[in-house]
Amino acid sequence: MTNDGDRLSAHSSHQVSQERRVTFYFQGRPVGALSGDTVASALFAQGRRVFSRSFKYHRPRGLLCCSGDCPNCLMEIDGKPNIRACRVQVRPGLHARAQHAWPSVDHDFLRVIERFERLLPIGFYYKTLYKPQLLWKIAEPIIRKLAGLGRVSKQAPSEEYEHRYEFVDVIVIGGGPAGIEAAKVAASSGASVLLVENEPQLGGHLRYETKLYPYEELERPGYELAHMMNSALQNTADLSILTDATAFGSYEGGLVPVLQGRTLIHVRTRAMIVAAGCHQYLPVFRNNDLPGVMLSRSALRLMNLFAIRPGKRAAVYTANDQGYEAAFECLRHNIEVAALIDARKHVHRPERAFDLQLRGVPVISGMKIIEACGSRAVCAVKIASAEDSTRVDSSHQQTIKCDVVLVSTGSQGNSALLLQAGCQLGLDKQIGQPVPVRLAPGVFAAGEILGLRSLPSIIRSGQAAAQSAIQYLKLETVSWQDELDGLLAQARQQSNASFGSIRPTGGTKNFVCLCEDVTQMDLEQGVEEGFDEIETLKRYSTVSMGPCQGRMCARNSTEICAQATNRDFGAVGMTTARPPICPVPLGVLAGPEFHPVKRTSLHYKHLASTNKIMDMGLWKRPFVYTTVAEEYDAVRNHAGLIDVSTLGKLFVRGKDSPVLLDKLYTHWFSKLAVGRTRYGLMCDDSGTILDDGTVARLSDDRYYVTTSTGNIDFVEQWMKWWAAGTNWCVHIVNVTSGMAAVNLAGPKAREILAKVTPLDLSGPAFPYMACREARVAEVPALLLRVGFVGEIGWEIHFPADYGEYLWDVLLDAGRDYHLKPFGVETQRLLRLEKKHIIVGHDTDALSNPYDSDLQWVVKLDKPDFIGRHAHEKMRAQSGKNRLVGFQCVNGGQPDDGCAVVIRGKLAGRVTSARFSPKLNKYVGLAWLPTEHSRSGSEFGFYADGIVHPAVVVDEPFYDPEGNRLK
């Protein structure tokens, strides 16, 4: 024997390697483990029996399933909460901590809550602590602190996650004997196959069985068969195998996501074979949650995978033949078997019972466990006749001393993926578990999930499923339903289970839901209170809503509900299993961190002069270079240069391009002369503003359109949509990144630009709102004479590659004229003084041109355009609110978005506000009720905690006549 008292000697079935030791830490103290151990098995081998504390009552919990199906081994591993210790392989330096217990998991003071059981019945938080209201204020923070299991560490370092994409013909879920066979047959027929197994090795339940199985004219122990099947599968063409991987959902379009470590694999498949096997669950008896009460397969795993004795004196509780095999397994490892309790009245294979009795094991049939005894670990079980329903006749009771209880009374298929894929399950009383009765197209099932128990039929079902899947892929008629019916008939024959004979015993502390500490009494009380449908009972009691998601409790809770409402199990039904079927970290779903950023081709020039870079959507733009005051002064009195490459830009060309533009914009564009530019407003048929921009006509069939920064995707799609389905000859090309643009504006702009272009820039040759194509410093460019900032200026659009070059050229040309670059913040102020609105900032999704003072852009003499009908109506009747300019009366600093207050009531909002050097006071734009929107109207805005007075101003604050622009 090794130093770990419960370790067994090495065996070829083992997953652990006795030679290689690994040290990890539990609660900060080192633990010696074997390579291949899980955190749970290593701690168990060291003698630990209490692994966690239950959610509500803080009862001690021990290893129950060893397969990730129950909540009992949840721990914090390397800073991550709520990890099942039985699913994590040990590695050197790993840190495990128990959670949800104080001061320690072995001595948890919070178990005192259990004393108040009577005050905490099902749904107690709906019925108590609300009167007087103060009670809840006190109670809520306490309950919140006590609730929950693990804690999220805010110091946890962020991790990296990956996404992968796979496309296969067939995905096989489950690498047990049925899945292995299905994968082999499907791959050999030429399909591309992916086999997904959530354990570290293939083989399914065979891995931990030493029982002999007939296989190809030989008899071999299960684990040897597992090895053989695994080897046979390696190097099969067109077959990929994923281990330690969980397919956690079945979604539309054949999407089956697989979680493997920190990778999310999006698998698209055409056919799916679910061979995910079964899991066992506990029956309901008093103290059934005591450490030491475990599922029989759990004990087999401990013995045959991890070389650990689960106890010294076992009681085996069964309602099928599996329990007998578990008893023999215990004897093989020199574990005393105190008794085998068979809940069935008549044993299926009496010769096995006889063999056991020969070995000195009492076999007691027709009895059931009514109570497990012990305080922190089981020390005995009390049994009574299985016939009794509620009242137990104490004269027929027996007490059996034991330190571990192996339970094999019920099995449930791992059918969640089948249900999600649209298959129907039905409870088959003979088979003893819900089985698929109708599968969705392209979905197949094999193995224990169908209720099959004999290995040859399990393997044949894998073959049948694969053959049907191949038929389906070849678009041949599939005889799968008949196959399935045949397989289910076999399962019925093989069934040795008893169904419904183990009624929950009455009393308290008999747990149905281990995750949420829901007892039988809780559920019966819930039904009494009126929650008599399983859906409402589930939500009221929270049964099946914990980490196990119903795996341990779905059957029992449905049976209790059925019993309490005098209905059949089938009539009650089971709740819907939704994806994911295992915990999936949000980081895995998010994938690799990727934060796209858009930079103009002049970006590094800006970085060289300023570090005040702002975000405008995905774009990075310079906020200001020196100060707003300096830059404002430059633009108003000398010249300024701003990078406006973020504007959306489109070429719209083709003989029908005027037709399209006329249809989408409120103004005429077919009538726009070549060489002219016009402000364009685009609305939808409800009349609201979608975007604005400029449209320049370069020739009869060529226009250059600009849109707001960030709106180009929408505008491009909108234009293409209206052109789609017509026979118009129009082509729309998005050149937003291909073209850069700068705006050179100010009294000296003309002199500066004249230095670098041969084009005649004089007033008559290049009037306001005209456009010309010309070379600027040899760079082919499009010049638009527009006036967003209110000074004479040109927007120069040119191929983006020349960005840095042209920027330098222009700054150089302007040196003698005090030309300065200016940023977005200065531009905002300049345009605000002209009352130029910014769509999406000063307007919103309900603004229309009439309310936004843009009615002059709407040409109702045009027979049709998008929004025309609504605009006619709007022209006739004014809206409730209007966008107006305002200036402050005295003091107060309005902010973008601050509230407009009229007579003490909220009446609108300020959309933009800045300090205007021209007027030497704060000015802005605001939405006001129409009746208060006339020039001179007074209102208040709310800033710094008080309401300041302001007055409506009709005209632009700066150069209302527009003389500077001409």
Partner: protein, 86 residues
């Protein structure tokens, strides 16, 4: 939602490459009565069954097409270029 959308140009792709463009329907003529316009702007047929709808291949060929999708199970029966004017 994870169904597959067949683009007439690019073939079957994940639906997340596309932008949904609404039901395929006729826009009222300019002179139509108010009730037609209100219905067009604010109401939708919202069919529980096969629906003809617009889709845009945003992460692909950037073209608009029409698809017929069964809204009860997200199966797309057909997709094609629009050929009639709205």
């Amino acid at each position: 939602m994870s169904f597959l959308m067949p683009c007439p140009n690019c073939g079957t792709r994940s639906v997340y490459e596309f932008r949904f463009g609404g039901e395929f329907r006729r826009r009222p003529d300019p002179g139509a009565p108010d009730s037609d316009w209100v219905d067009y702007v604010y109401n939708r047929a919202n069919i529980n069954g096969v629906q003809k709808e617009w889709w845009y291949h945003r992460d692909g060929c950037e073209k608009w097409f029409v698809a017929e999708r069964d809204t009860t199970c997200n199966m797309v029966n057909a997709s094609y270029w629009p050929y009639e004017s709205l």
